[in-house]
């Protein structure tokens, strides 16, 4: 019963994509392996804006395809990686960078973990020291010593 319903339902999902379509974007790999290598490297460091947990390299969305095409063209035009990233951040903001830049707004992101680590170490040292100081030497009395020696002997 469920099986027989599944196929028509799946086909129904295809319907909207059949009635309207985007102008297809050319997203073919270039013949030049150098271009493709640089594109692969760059696009792994850039975020797809539509599907934000994917990089530009892995995303199948059309905006990612657009951006890959743009990057390819800019590489061919001789732009440096820095110029291309500048082009993209100017339009889409720092959000497009998977590796956030070190700016005052991202200080907490970059240095926060180290601060937490240092803070944790300080707390740990203090705690251990406090406990060590809390231990007072309690020497054995003469009676206890005698009993202990007896036990060891037997």
């Amino acid at each position: 019963m469920t099986r027989s319903l599944l196929l028509p339902l799946l086909l129904l999902c295809l319907l909207p994509s059949m009635t309207t379509a985007q102008v297809p974007v050319e997203d073919k790999p270039s013949d030049d392996p150098v271009v493709e290598h640089r594109l692969a490297k760059l696009s792994h460091e850039l975020r797809c804006l539509k599907c934000q947990n994917q990089t530009l390299a892995e995303s199948p969305s059309s905006i990612a395809a657009d951006l890959r095409r743009e990057i390819r063209e800019q590489i061919k035009a001789g732009k440096s990686d820095k110029e291309i990233t500048a082009f993209l951040t100017q339009r889409y903001g720092d959000f497009i960078l998977y590796k956030p830049r070190v700016t005052p707004t991202t200080y907490i992101l970059w240095f926060g973990p180290f601060l937490l680590l240092i803070g944790g170490l300080i707390v740990l040292f203090r705690y251990v020291k406090q406990r060590r100081d809390a231990i007072t030497e309690q020497p054995l009395t003469a009676d206890e010593r005698r009993r202990a020696e007896e036990m060891l002997r037997s």
Partner: protein, 176 residues
């Protein structure tokens, strides 16, 4: 006293969660701030959708407050926001950027739903869209008399977005 530290940590945690929940539109965490806010609207000259022999440029709008709506016939949410533009067009000139759409599809879409735009231009490959930082449709920009982007709205312009974000800003910008 023993319970104060865990309680304090718990309150901090709740505060962070609350900020995460309420600081941005709870309906869509994918809405990004525009990198172009308060920056000059990128220049473009594109053929008009209904009269491809004529062009339209952002420069033509100098001295006017205007809205640029990014739309397409393949975009489902555009269909949802579309009727609202008829009312908005009484207050502010609304121009359309037909984004990555086939012009014939776009024209028949407007024929079916009506055309609230002063005019629309065809951005076939989405290159002008890229200059504006468009990452999906619909998106709507409000541009002031000096050609500066004053507001960007991602997703359909709902009545709430219009009355809360657009209208007060348009009135203020028109006074300048």
């Amino acid at each position: 006293m023993r319970y104060l530290i865990p309680l304090g940590l718990f309150i901090v945690l709740v505060a962070f969660l609350a900020i995460g929940l309420y600081s941005r539109d709870p309906r869509d965490p994918g809405k990004l701030p525009s990198a172009l806010l308060n920056k000059p609207a990128p220049a473009f000259r594109l053929p008009q959708l209904k009269d491809p022999d004529k062009t339209f440029s952002a420069e033509d709008m100098r001295g006017k407050v205007w809205m640029l709506n990014v739309w397409a016939s393949w975009c489902v949410e555009c269909r949802y926001e579309h009727p609202g533009f008829f009312e908005m067009a009484k207050t502010v000139p609304v121009y359309g950027l037909n984004y990555k759409d086939r012009p014939e599809d776009a024209r028949s879409w407007l024929g079916e739903l009506g055309d609230p735009y002063v005019l629309s231009v065809s951005d076939l490959e989405g290159r002008v869209g890229m200059d504006y930082g468009v990452y999906g449709a619909p998106e709507t920009y409000l541009i002031d008399k000096g050609g500066t982007i004053r507001h960007k709205h991602v997703g359909p312009v709902t009545e709430e977005a219009w009355t809360k974000d657009f209208l007060p800003l348009i009135q203020e910008l028109n006074r300048q």
